[in-house]
């Protein structure tokens, strides 16, 4: 049934607009058309399983203003069934994509959380630059802690000890976060020296510049 023009229902030059039913019609979504004589008539409607489904469909339709005229015209010229087919299918596809994106987002979040718990030890030998080692979180692209040396053997000497401290990387990160990079360096060097002393006293030391070269942790 035609209605008199309702204020604010139509925006701009568009002659079609979706509308969500209210009250007893809360499960209904329709497309209204504004005719050239100012009368408003429904050209398409669908009754969904519940108000929530109707609201979901309506909200999606409202995000697609460029399609309103096409939907309305399709309903007028080809038939409401054709328009319904197009609209519902597009809405279903949109919902499917949204659910998939949400799933991917959650998975990505989980993965990021997992990686953020993972700390990896790297060593670096850049050309014509000082050798170094670093501790890096799995979720980041650069090390949070970097220790630079003058000689490679100095770096490798520390690596011999640090490689077997994986279980303590998280504690080291905490120490770094609380007291800074210098404190962590001191902690690492102190730990390395203490282990070298113990291993040497036991007679297991490799001797030379890298006493812990063949040490495989305690």
């Amino acid at each position: 049934m035609a209605e008199h023009l309702a204020d604010g229902l139509f925006v701009g030059p568009d002659n079609y607009v979706p509308r969500l039913g209210t009250g007893d019609d809360a499960c209904t979504v329709e497309i209204l058309r504004r005719r050239s004589d100012g009368q408003i008539v429904p050209v398409w409607s669908v009754v969904l399983d519940g108000p929530k489904a109707a609201r979901t469909l309506y909200d999606w339709m409202m995000t697609n203003p460029p399609s309103w005229s096409m939907w309305g015209r399709l309903s007028l010229r080809v038939g409401p069934e054709a328009a319904g087919r197009l609209i519902i299918r597009a809405a279903d596809e949109h919902e499917r994509v949204r659910i998939e994106q949400e799933r991917l987002r959650r998975e990505n979040q989980k993965e990021q959380a997992r990686l953020s718990r993972q700390i990896t030890l790297y060593y670096y030998d850049p050309k014509k630059k000082a050798p170094s080692l670093g501790l890096e979180r799995g979720s980041e692209n650069s090390p949070f802690f970097r220790m630079t040396f003058t000689e490679k053997w100095e770096r490798d000497r520390v690596l011999d000890w640090l490689t077997n401290q994986r279980a303590h990387f998280a504690d080291m990160e905490e120490l770094w976060a609380e007291h800074g990079a210098l404190a962590l360096e001191r902690h690492i060097l102190a730990g390395m020296r203490e282990t070298e002393r113990v291993v040497k006293a036991r007679g297991d030391s490799a001797g030379g510049r890298r006493p812990l070269r063949f040490w495989r942790g305690e």
């Binding site: 015209r73 010229r77 038939g79």
Partner: protein, 318 residues
């Protein structure tokens, strides 16, 4: 053949007498005598009957204008709106437009618009090719002039006020141009003498749409274009005919309205084939495919849509 005196037709014969026409089958609907025999003998195609004048119930704002909804053709829409209003004001309860010269770029959809108009008004659409010499050639001896088929088509369709599309005018012979002038000139087309058919025909309720040739795209410097015009003049509608026509140039549909045109063409295809939308047809895929046809003419888009529809319709195998 003995010819009787000319019997005037049209004018008062179009106006309903009393409550309506005397034809019980057409109570409430205006009608007119299409043609009367020159010789008094019964006409072969039975045009000595009253034919309905249709579309009167669609002259209001909720009718033809609302149905057309050609937002990208504001000039055409205003013209149709004014013509419908004029008919209502004059108490003419049938659809009719003043004669039109429909212009625009090549492939813009002149025939599509004419058919849309006819459909919206509820009247038939008749195509007439003016390049033919068959109705104007000089007959002598045993030769028989061919009657114009337009009146026969009107009688066959049972409608006195169809939309008639006239194509090929730039290539029409001078004799054909003269004939067209007699057909569209509102001061004389009420009593069009068709000697070949032996009738006087009332064409005054016909909506004549003459298709103008597409404009040649401008290229090259202006001096060259002048030279080109002198050796190869741009096809045009003769001025003697054009002065009887109201020129309307159709516009190319804007990108954001292209899908609306596709909807209209799809509806036209389904209507022409007499089938509903096939249940297995993926409409979104069809519109996505149609998006690749933007540079084609309206006729070509129609053809491709028809192919797509027929692929899904069992009764119309390709």
């Amino acid at each position: 053949m003995m010819a009787g005196g000319l019997i005037p037709v049209g004018g008062g014969s179009k106006l309903p007498v009393g409550p309506a026409t005397s034809d019980p089958g057409r109570v409430g609907r205006p009608s007119m005598m299409l043609a009367r025999s020159l010789s008094g003998r019964p006409l072969q195609f039975g045009a000595d009957i009253k034919l309905p004048l249709r579309g009167g119930d669609r002259l209001g704002p909720s009718g033809i204008v609302s149905d057309l909804e050609l937002d990208w053709e504001p000039e055409l829409m205003r013209f149709v709106e004014d013509a419908c209003l004029d008919q209502r004001i004059r108490g003419r309860d049938w659809f009719a437009l003043p004669p039109v010269l429909l212009g625009g770029e090549a492939g813009v959809g002149r025939t599509h618009v004419a058919r849309r108009l006819a459909r919206a008004a509820g009247v038939p659409h008749i195509m007439f090719d003016a390049t033919t010499w068959m109705f104007t050639w000089r007959c002598a001896g045993p030769d028989v002039h061919l009657p114009l088929p337009i009146a026969a088509a009107m009688a066959a369709s049972g409608c006195a006020n169809p939309v008639v599309s006239v194509t090929g005018v730039p290539r029409a012979t001078p004799a054909m141009v003269d004939l067209l002038i007699r057909l569209v000139d509102r001061s004389i087309n009420e009593s069009f003498v068709d000697q070949a058919a032996g009738v006087v025909v009332d064409y005054s309720a016909v909506t004549w749409i003459v298709h103008a040739p597409p404009r040649r795209p401008a290229s090259g410097p202006q001096a060259y274009r002048h030279y080109q015009q002198s050796v190869d003049p741009e096809p045009h509608v003769p001025a003697a005919l054009a002065r009887h026509l109201h020129r309307i140039d159709l516009q190319d549909v804007a990108p954001e309205q292209y899908q609306l045109l596709v909807v209209d063409l799809l509806a036209e295809v389904l209507d022409d084939l007499g089938v509903p939308l096939p249940p297995l047809m993926d409409l979104q895929a069809l519109f996505d495919l149609a998006g690749q046809w933007r540079d084609l003419s309206v006729g070509e888009i129609y053809d491709r849509l028809q192919i797509e529809v027929r692929l899904h319709v069992d009764d119309h195998p390709l």
